[in-house]
Subunit: 585 residues, 2 copies
């Protein structure tokens, strides 16, 4: 028995108890003849006291303990003279009578404190030390609690968690697969799943009715910020459901989780916004609704007055930043520079302030009468003190996306994107297809198994690009936290979909034959969705990056710098796998 | 809304309700002018009734429904005339007024019944149909319930589930790794974990204190029966613990699971048997204690009477099969053939019956007096009617293993291995090392991080083969369901261990440097264990094979015959990975 109590457990009611604790030396200080040590474990911090007058040898030993030494102490719980109300254990201390060093420690390369002096790289290399910091560990405790609650909710709704295999077949449609050479099947490879999509659909064919899995998924993509080659999905599927059934059940889950994990009661039904409206009014399929600044289209009002930028535009639209008329020229210039950055790509920005007397003063006053500007003001519902920002361009969708960036930036600048406020909505009616410039063909926006809206099925033959899908995303604070669709359960409709996506029947058979065959044996109507667990947790934890809620994340080159992986194989391993490595210079 | 109720839900109290159900046609039968259809979903079976006289067209439509058609019906709940007490819904039926075919079905290649006519191969190819069978689905429901209860228990004990990465580094010690080529790190490979062993130890260094994970693990081994290339572990680790702390906590979990999942109360503390005793008395490190037949050594009694087989043996030992003296000569000859099979390898078997008068009649009577045979009888505590079976050989350990096979076979023949009886124990004090003939060196019996027993540490330098470890297995009914050890937390002791295992310091650093380095920064004493989830579930479910509790298992060639995986990559995929496939003929 290494300990009778943890370091977070003792209270004033334990005074005079003989106890044994074990943990890490967080810090020590010497005051006169006394040495105080903060002993830390996962559960908290307890103060240890060594008195030179009482036991000089023990005190001397304590003076030589370094940071992060692992020790075991026995002593008596004592009421503190000066209490620390910031610590649950702050009323007591341990008068130590025995000290046992369980393990010495080198001085850590950065401080094990919430505000550490360690940079990203060193903390990743010594991730096992970084994880000692309470701030980091709390994220993983939250992740644990979240998966417990997700399972509790879904189990209570009759969902069965089924583990699907990780060594499956490669399906080149979609993102790039990670592959695994098979030694027993020479020359052949497994693929790691990008998601359990087809397998969960097979489980519906099997009559599992309600399936879920907290599943590891893999995508070999070039990593941008906040992407990981392996990530975790809360993957769900239901049979005999229509879109509303799915949305209601998972809206319930979101509300349950917010209540259990954050104490936040979301009482209102989530807004359901069509993809078309989301793009039109927010320039994004994942609008951040913590704040307003809904887009207002200005083509009718501002076109045709000789301002060639607007006169030649396919789209003119703006946002109204409430109370931001105080923005200086310098601030406005900076905003213009912001939208002109190559990542955003706007040509320029027009602004207008609503002055105290209601007059509108704009950067393009020479083209517009006050009467026109007042019409514009009305269109925004703008008040004195408000700032109107306008973008225009030759491609409506591109300009809307630029305006979206501007809106989000203004939200940031005006402090409207509070991490402790949560705005959830469903974006629905996504387009079935999107045009791929790269491949010069229609691609499935969601995936090839997505059901088109019944009323749009006739359009599949005449105008597939106009077809909308029974697809939906759950959005929280401008982040897509989950998404899914009703699936096609009819083999003929599925075959047509593959045809539109440019699959020959042979290629469709080769890649998805097992699914299309399964559908011939009695597939129920079904649908589902998947949540990105990493992203969900990072929202609950108020984190900017998903990396901080992953125990051992990889860097942007897909490397685990702590394990120094990936690495080279030896020749024997390669030979067994019938592989030759041929790196082109 | 596809249904108002499931097919397992309606009762006599629902009579006269208007309901809508959806599901699969299990079977249909025509009786006079009535058609009866059993409609099936995951939740049960409900009888549908169509009456030709009431609605001839509808009845005609029902007569054309094939097996496994997916249909939706609306109708009225009616009390059955002849009730079926085997079904929870057996008191009612639905008088159908509307029928909607949601999906037609080809005739399945085997019957969807508990006792199906489908062979193994066809059922694996059409696994999605096999999973429709209640008997198979129940196993996966049990698996789901088991993971829910495991998490509930461990969460209540303060364990945190932490997901560790699946793309890690290759560690050639131990079994063969599955590897994953990295596109972004040309020529380099990740490995899929054989277990999260080193990562969970790092989490202990991080102060996580109590960790668990239900984790996918991978081993590229030649598959014997009941092995899968990917399998699932309940993986656990604790800090500041000694062996007893671990055993107590996980004994508690086993008892909890038996109670929750099987309604079995295991009230007694589990027996703890040393590895040496397990080998000595049962010839196995996983003895099946559902029955007796403990080995009795007979060297002192039977040696030196001119029976050269025994006189030259290094080991003579036997078992006493209670009440089996009625075994015929034919049965005994069959047992002799059984132990002489090459997989077992005994040279022969000696038997002795205890007759009604207490005399012993043996197959080697010409060498032994009745007095000697009576001594032998006493050694077994044998009674009239018992059968004694004796093996001998030149290698004690090999002979004990042969005797173990004989004991298990007798257990089977005498019906002593009841699947509804559970005998659990801990086997402890495993040897630290075992000699590898293949590699001509000592190998870690458990793994290289296992802590030797404190009292045996001095033997590391002088007789490493005699060193015992703080390692333990949980055994249930002759099956190892879990195992683990106290780990080394001292970098110096770990280095010595690698030295004994034949690692150069460079090789140890290359493969496990990250762990040994971590240990320098304050590693707590720690230990843990891992359960094989697949095996655990198969015991609870009373299955002979783990395959039946895995949704989509692979065959003995590591193939998923349903998905037809693994498969060949296209040239573009290989090029991106800098790989050339070179299969030797």
């Amino acid at each position: 028995m290494y300990r009778t109590h943890t370091c977070g457990e003792l209270r004033i009611s334990d005074v005079n108890k003989q106890v044994t604790l074990a943990g890490w030396v967080q810090r020590s200080r010497k005051m006169g003849g006394m040495t105080f040590i903060d002993l830390r474990d996962r559960y908290g911090i307890t103060q240890l006291v060594f008195n030179e007058e009482v036991n000089a040898a023990l005190c001397e030993q304590a003076n030589h303990l370094g940071r992060e030494y692992v020790i075991q102490v026995t002593g008596t719980v004592n009421e503190r003279f000066s209490k620390n109300s910031n610590l649950p254990t702050g009323d007591i201390e341990i008068i130590v009578s025995e000290l046992n060093i369980l393990n010495a420690a080198l001085t850590p390369p950065f401080t094990i404190e919430d505000n550490t002096d360690g940079g990203d790289d060193i903390r990743m290399k010594y991730r096992y030390l970084d994880l000692r910091r309470t701030a980091v560990r709390k994220n993983l405790e939250l992740r644990h609690k979240m998966t417990i609650e997700v399972r509790k909710y879904l189990d209570s709704k009759g969902f069965i968690e089924v583990e699907t295999p990780l060594l499956i077949g490669s399906t080149p449609e979609g993102a790039r697969d990670f592959v695994v050479p098979s030694r027993m099947n020479p020359g052949q490879f497994y693929a790691l799943p990008q998601s359990p999509q087809t397998l969960k659909q097979l489980l519906m064919v099997s009559g599992f009715d309600r399936y879920f899995q907290i599943a590891k998924c893999f995508r070999d993509e070039d990593l941008r910020a906040d992407r990981q080659p392996e990530f975790t999905q809360i993957d769900c599927e239901m049979s005999f459901v229509q879109q509303d059934d799915v949305l209601e059940l998972f809206e319930g889950m979101a509300k349950y989780l917010f209540k259990e994990l954050r104490g936040v009661e979301l009482t209102e039904p989530f807004l359901r916004m069509s993809w078309a409206d989301a793009m039109r009014y927010y320039g994004s399929d994942k609008p951040d609704l913590r704040f307003g600044m809904k887009f207002v289209e200005l083509m009718d009002i501002l076109k045709g007055y000789g301002f060639s930028v607007f006169d030649n535009a396919a789209y003119i639209g703006g946002i109204c930043a409430e109370g931001a008329a105080h923005y200086t020229r310098k601030q406005l210039d900076a905003l213009t520079e912001f939208v002109k950055r190559p990542q955003i790509g706007a040509k320029g920005m027009v602004y207008a302030r609503v002055e105290a007397d209601g007059n509108v003063k704009s950067s393009v006053d020479k083209f517009y009468t006050q009467e026109i500007l007042q019409q514009m003001k009305e269109a925004f519902g703008a008040k004195p003190g408000d700032l109107i920002l306008i973008l225009s361009g030759g491609d409506a969708m591109k300009t809307r996306k630029q305006l979206c960036e501007l809106r989000l930036e203004m939200g940031n600048q005006l402090g409207l994107r509070d991490k402790n406020k949560f705005a959830l909505l469903w974006v629905v009616d996504f387009p079935m297809f999107e045009w791929s410039e790269e491949e010069s063909r229609l691609m499935a926006m969601h995936h090839p198994f997505t059901h088109p809206k019944d009323e749009d099925i006739p359009l599949l033959d005449i105008d597939p690009a106009a077809v909308r899908a029974d697809a939906y995303d759950m959005v929280c604070n401008g982040i897509e936290v989950g998404g899914g669709s009703i699936r096609i359960h009819d083999a003929k409709l599925q075959a047509k979909m593959f045809e539109i996506l440019g699959f020959t029947p042979e290629k469709a058979e080769e890649q998805f034959g097992f699914l299309m065959n399964a559908f011939k044996y009695g597939a129920p109507p079904h649908g589902g969705l998947a949540y990105g667990l990493d992203r969900w947790v990072s929202i609950f934890a108020g984190l900017d990056s998903i990396r901080d809620c992953i125990a051992f994340p990889k860097n942007n080159s897909g490397r685990d710098v702590m394990l120094d992986a990936p690495g080279f194989l030896n020749q024997e391993q390669l030979d067994e796998l019938n592989l030759v490595v041929d790196v082109k210079e």
